[in-house]
């Protein structure tokens, strides 16, 4: 039976793993390749590397890092951050990335998603969506690492990218991210039930029960977290053991 996936996320800045709280206050958390290899050994199902400083000048650095990751890691990994063209993606895939994630650039030019799906297949196109619930109770799409609000509703944008060929959605709730108070169950469930592709829930995982909630009540196909793994608050084997005890199918 297909298992639920546990995915550590490594935010990369200048070649180091970092983690912020509510998208700010960045702290250093170590070498991404070492950390990624450790997680793979511990039983992580996939890894996500997001280059939060990606710019054109940094692209070469990123592709070198991806190449190093690919040489050392025996599970699938996704790379994101500043990807805006078919050529950007080709370089990353050639260096060993399995999937790429697009966010702001896809929102600015939605054809990018269609182009990537056509060129490389939907299986390697992850649409990352940062969303925040506003006072009106609606979830809106945010861009540029959460700094720019749009008037587009999360569910509408999610349908749009899936129609264009995105193979997975990586959904981050900005309200929950960094709080360790649990994932955003309602929006995760809404997307997971409405979309024909897997939804990876991100933002807010603090204790094992939060993962149980998002994978069961939230209907997520996978759960992503960063700092709780980086700072060893929860070990992956312990988390997956707990999920299995609660009757959730995981790879052990």
């Amino acid at each position: 039976m297909l298992t639920k996936r546990i995915i550590p996320c490594l935010d990369i800045k200048d070649g180091r793993t970092v983690k912020g709280v509510n998208f700010e206050n960045i702290r250093d958390a170590g070498d991404p390749v070492e950390l990624g290899a450790l997680y793979a050994r511990e039983g992580a199902d996939e890894l996500v590397f997001l280059d939060i400083t990606a710019t054109n000048e940094k692209r070469k650095t990123l592709s070198e890092l991806v190449n190093r990751i690919a040489h050392h890691i025996n599970i699938p990994f996704t790379v994101g951050g500043g990807i805006s063209s078919v050529d950007d993606v080709r370089v990353l895939l050639q260096n060993g990335a399995d999937k790429i994630s697009v966010n702001t650039s896809a929102f600015r030019r939605p054809e990018l998603v269609s182009e990537l799906a056509k060129e490389f297949g939907s299986q390697c196109v992850v649409a990352a969506i940062d969303t925040r619930m506003e006072a009106d109770g609606q979830w809106y799409v945010y861009l540029n690492g959460g700094r720019v609000k749009t008037e587009t509703k999360c569910i509408d944008w999610a349908h749009n990218v899936v129609d264009r060929g995105a193979g997975e959605i990586l959904l981050t709730s900005m309200n929950n991210d960094g709080t360790k108070k649990g994932f955003a169950l309602d929006i995760t469930r809404q997307l997971a039930e409405a979309l024909p592709v897997p939804v990876i829930a991100s933002g807010g995982g603090g204790i094992p029960d939060h993962f149980v909630e998002v994978l069961e009540a939230g209907k997520a196909d996978a759960a992503l977290a960063a700092s709780i793994f980086h700072f060893k608050e929860i070990a992956i084997p312990e988390l997956k053991g707990y999920l299995q005890e609660r009757g959730i199918a995981v790879r052990l």
Binding site: L2, D45, N74, Q123, E168, P196, P198
Partner: protein, 196 residues
């Protein structure tokens, strides 16, 4: 030992190359018929769309080259599907090495298509799985699957039960990605290289 990875217009070739490096093996990536035929082992990888890939192989005569290889060949994911007789993906006639037909997942019961993630392989019947526990988890990414048949050497369930591996003569195929399947995948790659 000369290992060759067939180069064509499908993804994941690099991943396979790195996976072999991680287990201490070097491989040559080539579409040169002479090199393919002279190899000790041939790996036919693939992530992509069936009709485009078959068209590419036919244009270059690689279809006949692959069918004519006498050494062990391992097809991975799309590579395995292309070794089947037919794929529903854009109504494509494939290489016909395996008799099984490739069908699209129905998605019935709310199952998401493509299947993405770790699923177990069971009813293992081949030296390819020497030392690999029954129900081991492997990493799958696919919207189409090979039906069960005489040549099935591993099964997996996702709505339907399908062939997660096939074997005929010197030809082997796996639907999952051994190059991304952690220790189980590394063992399967080693088995292909060392045992078969």
């Amino acid at each position: 030992m000369k290992l060759v990875i067939i180069k064509y217009n499908a993804g994941n070739i690099q991943s396979v190359l790195y996976a072999l490096e991680r287990i201490g093996r070097e491989a040559v990536v080539t579409d040169d018929a002479a090199q393919i035929v002279a190899a000790d082992k041939v790996i036919f990888p693939g992530v992509g769309e069936a009709s485009t890939a078959m068209e590419y192989l036919r244009e270059r005569g690689l279809d006949a080259v692959i069918k004519g290889v006498r050494q062990p060949v391992l097809g991975i994911c799309l590579g395995m599907q292309l070794m089947c007789s037919y794929s529903e993906e854009n109504d494509t006639t494939c290489l016909g090495i395996f008799e099984e037909k490739v069908r699209k997942f129905s998605g019935e019961g709310g199952l998401k298509v493509p299947q993405i993630g770790w699923n177990n392989i069971y009813d293992l019947r081949s030296p390819l799985f020497e030392g690999v526990a029954d129900k081991s988890y492997c990493y799958f990414v696919h919207g189409y699957y090979a039906a069960l048949g005489e040549q099935t050497i591993a099964r997996t369930g996702y709505g339907e039960t399908f062939s997660s591996a096939l074997h005929r003569d010197n030809f082997y195929g796996v639907q999952f990605h051994p190059e991304k399947s952690a220790q189980a995948g590394e063992r399967i790659l080693r088995n292909f290289i060392d045992l078969i």
